[in-house]
């Protein structure tokens, strides 16, 4: 037996069973679009990959790409883990997803515009109940009557997708208030092209570098005035968990990064305090929550906002992205109605389905769910970051009792969903590939009347075996996501389109 045969290959012991595996259909059998990757990683071997891992670490540390994990004993900053095994999606599969994402964001823009600056037609026509909308935490009364150029309310959207047991892409969550993660998408890509350039090169991967330019154009398109508008990024400050991204985005676009205290509103016009006096600002990409934007208009205890900003927005002297009041579309209860809204506004069937969702405010659905709490996932309607989620099959009796009580006390505050066994992807754990659950957060930009989907997005990995919580703030990791040209067709194991029906 030759030496090479005696050495075991990287994926020899990898078992893809138990969930939809992104890479392998069975042991040792990669899907056609993963053939090349598996071959190349096998060629590099575990030792060389470990070496590249160290290079990746060093580069990340130098760049200071960090993320604060709340409650982490280690302290405030941790390097955001990037797994060197990328996720690969062929263009034919991606086209479907892309179309679905664009359709979804278009629907959300229309819904929000109808609600805040239109006739609330969707409510009037009974598509979504009025009280669902107005009782939402994200509904902002102060936004009523404020119109947005081109109705571009969701300038940046992060539409979280999962793949279920049959490999069908479903929307898990709409994030249209302040979705973050695009900086990791671009930085991860930059890391991969430096640490594994030949592997990257052997695939024809669609680029993500244009993100900064696209976002900048999208913000300029929002400007209330013509000419050369001044755009700025508004950050809560360096203590914010996503500060790295605020810096990144500002730098990519070449615009100033400001905090609330750098701005002043005079006569309903926003200015920034510069060394040359006051300088007018036309568009703000704000990374603050609505309620902290303006102590005069919202929470009076907000020290990170700008007094008078709301009145400047109302007067049409400054535009902000994303628009005020988007939280109602972020709301997990409104999420359940988005497919119906798609049909209503666009007269189209939704391309990407929801995860099966139960509205617990509805007595029948609530009763049925309470009978099988240990079989479903219960989520708070206004949560984010994966906090407050109870996964029935994994919960203790006491946790289930707590959730039951919470639902009964405030049915409007909770939804339930069928457990989706998220797809899994080989991820390097201590140097060897192990199957871990993944989801996908693609980023969608609304630029005037156009919608652009950034190819790929952030694949998030639950690093703990069996865990379904992928959020970075709870210790998840990430992968680069490659949208590649379709592999030359011999006979694939199963037609990819079929798995999406």
């Amino acid at each position: 037996m030759s030496h090479t045969e005696a050495v075991d290959r990287l994926f020899d012991a990898y078992d893809p069973s138990g969930a939809f595996d992104e890479v392998f259909t069975e042991v040792g059998k990669p899907r056609p679009h993963y053939d090349e990757l598996v071959r190349r990683l096998d060629g590099l071997g575990a030792d060389e990959l470990a070496r590249r891992d160290l290079m990746r670490d060093a580069t990340f540390r130098t760049k200071g790409i960090t993320f604060a994990v709340y409650g982490d004993a280690e302290g405030v900053e941790r390097t955001f883990p990037l797994d060197l095994v990328p996720r690969v999606i062929p263009q034919s599969e991606w086209s479907h997803v892309e179309a679905g994402l664009a359709q979804r964001v278009r629907t959300l823009n229309l819904f929000l515009d109808d609600l805040y600056a239109g006739e609330q037609a969707a409510i009037r026509d009974g598509i979504v109940p009025r009280d669902v909308v107005v009782s939402s935490d994200g509904f902002v009364r102060e936004a009523m009557g404020i119109s947005v150029p081109h109705g571009a309310r969701c300038v940046v959207s992060g539409i979280d997708l999962v793949r279920d047991g049959e490999g069908v892409y479903r929307v898990l969550e709409d994030n249209v208030r302040n979705p973050s993660g695009i900086s990791y998408v671009v930085e991860n890509r930059s890391l991969m092209t430096r640490v594994l350039p030949r592997v990257f090169e052997s695939h024809e991967v669609r680029g993500v570098d244009h993100y900064g330019a696209s976002l900048r154009e999208a913000l300029i398109a929002l400007s209330p005035s013509g000419g050369s508008p001044t755009v700025a990024v508004l950050t809560p400050g360096s203590f914010n968990s996503a500060y790295y991204e605020h810096v990144f985005v500002a730098r990519q676009m070449g615009v100033p990064l400001v905090e609330g205290r750098d701005l002043v509103v005079d006569d309903q016009v926003v200015y920034l305090r510069s060394t040359h006096g006051l300088s007018r600002v036309d568009v703000l990409y704000r990374r603050l929550d609505d309620r902290f934007l303006d102590p005069a208009g919202f929470r009076s205890d907000s020290v990170i906002g700008v007094p008078g900003l709301l009145s400047a927005i109302r007067a049409g002297n400054v535009s902000i992205a994303n628009a005020i009041g988007n939280g109602v579309a972020d709301d997990k209860l409104v999420y359940a109605y988005v497919p119906a809204l798609t049909k209503y506004y666009l007269d189209e069937e939704p391309i990407l389905p929801n995860v099966t969702t139960y509205v617990l405010d509805d007595p029948e659905q609530r009763a049925s769910v309470l009978e099988r709490l240990d079989q479903v996932v219960v989520k708070p309607v206004a949560g984010s970051g994966g906090y407050g989620v109870t996964i029935g099959p994994k919960a203790t009796d006491s946790e289930l009792a707590d959730v039951r009580a919470a639902i009964e006390a405030d049915p409007r505050g909770w939804i339930a969903q069928e457990v989706v066994t998220l797809s899994r992807h080989p991820t390097l754990i201590d140097g060897r590939p192990g199957a871990r659950h993944v989801d996908l957060r693609p980023f969608v930009i609304t630029r005037g009347d156009d919608i652009e989907v950034i190819p790929g997005g952030l694949t998030r990995v639950a690093l703990t075996a069996g865990s379904l919580i992928v959020n970075s703030s709870q210790g998840g990791g990430s992968k680069d996501t490659w949208i590649v040209a379709d592999p030359p067709s011999d006979t694939p194991d199963e037609p990819i389109e079929e798995s999406l029906r």
Binding site: R189, S190, R194, P197, F200, I220, G254
Partner: protein, 321 residues
């Protein structure tokens, strides 16, 4: 006042180290661009690199060959290896004039390429990590020099070499890359690529400006007075350095550089871009090289003595040749 020979060593060390940095940068940026971007026109990337770096005839302009010739080829005097050998030698010869930290920084970049690990493997398999390291170490040298050297003639010659090399590089980059792009409307990404070659992408973006860059990028790389790698900024630095070295202001390098600075500072970009932009760039590049020759003639004790210099020497100057 120092030995003409020492001045020459430092001047060329400055030029070679700047050349190393520019070479590492253009190779790194091009490699990333080539593997990240769509396939169209990718063959041209390496043609362009070969033109800017003035590489000897490379039979096969594929990435591996260009990398090899530009980094490790012993037959290419402008390969990074060759340049580092030469720069280190030059610096070693004048070691007593320099701070020990500066010598160590130069030694460090040389060592990083002779470390015993398989540099060829690294360049083959992850060139950006190698080139990034070289570039950073070169920048460290500049920083160490600025921080640890008194503002004496030695530092002036070192910096004069750097800036002259930088000016010439900017001209070549604009000539090879920007000219073709001007003829057709190209994406922001392609312009950013050109800017990255000169480490100017972020600075350019921060300056703002709406719409497609085109002529604006040319203006930035050739004429901007605050961007340290623009031709104008670099030439102006050279002029100031020569003025420090020869306060009379009447030496030939002073004259040539002074004229070039004026030409650049008062350039009308529209005129430049009018008919034969290539000829304009060639002329600027030639003027920079001519200035370099004039520097050599004036300061390094060459045979072709400038009449002003003869006067100064016979008026009781020092023993320097």
């Amino acid at each position: 006042m120092m030995l003409g020979r020492h001045a020459e060593d430092l001047y060329w060390a400055g030029r070679y180290l700047e050349r190393v940095q520019d070479t590492a940068r253009i190779l790194d940026v091009t490699h990333q661009w080539a593997i990240s971007s769509p396939v169209t026109g990718s063959a041209n990337h390496w043609n362009d690199v070969a033109a800017v770096l003035m590489l000897p005839e490379v039979a096969d302009l594929d990435p591996s060959s260009v990398m090899r010739v530009a980094i490790t080829d012993a037959d290419n005097p402008n390969a990074i290896y060759s340049l580092l050998d030469q720069a280190r030698e030059n610096v070693r010869r004048v070691r007593e004039l320099l701070s020990s930290e500066l010598w160590e920084a130069v030694n460090d970049v040389w060592l990083s390429m002779h470390d015993g690990q398989d540099v060829n493997y690294d360049i083959e398999h992850h060139p950006s990590l190698v080139l990034g390291g070289v570039k950073t170490r070169c920048q460290t040298i500049v920083g160490v020099a600025a921080e640890t050297m008194p503002r004496d003639d030695a530092l002036c010659f070192l910096r004069l070499g750097s800036h002259l090399e930088r000016a010439a590089f900017a001209c070549r980059v604009v000539n090879v890359y920007a000219r073709p792009l001007l003829d057709q409307s190209r994406s922001l990404g392609e312009w950013l690529h050109v800017l990255r070659i000169c480490a100017g992408a972020e600075a350019y973006l921060r300056r703002g400006g709406a719409g497609l860059p085109e002529a604006d990028v040319v203006r930035f790389l050739m004429l901007d007075e605050s961007f340290p790698r623009s031709a104008t900024h670099a030439v102006k630095e050279c002029f100031d350095l020569v003025s420090t070295l020869d306060p009379s202001g009447r030496s030939r390098p002073s004259l040539l550089l002074g004229r070039l600075v004026a030409e650049l500072q008062y350039a009308e970009l529209d005129e430049w871009l009018g008919d034969d932009f290539g000829a304009v760039l060639d002329a600027v590049h030639a003027a920079i090289i001519e200035s370099s020759d004039a520097v050599a003639a004036r300061f390094f004790g060459r045979t072709e003595l400038d009449p002003f210099q003869i006067q100064a020497v016979s008026a009781g100057g020092s023993a320097s040749r």
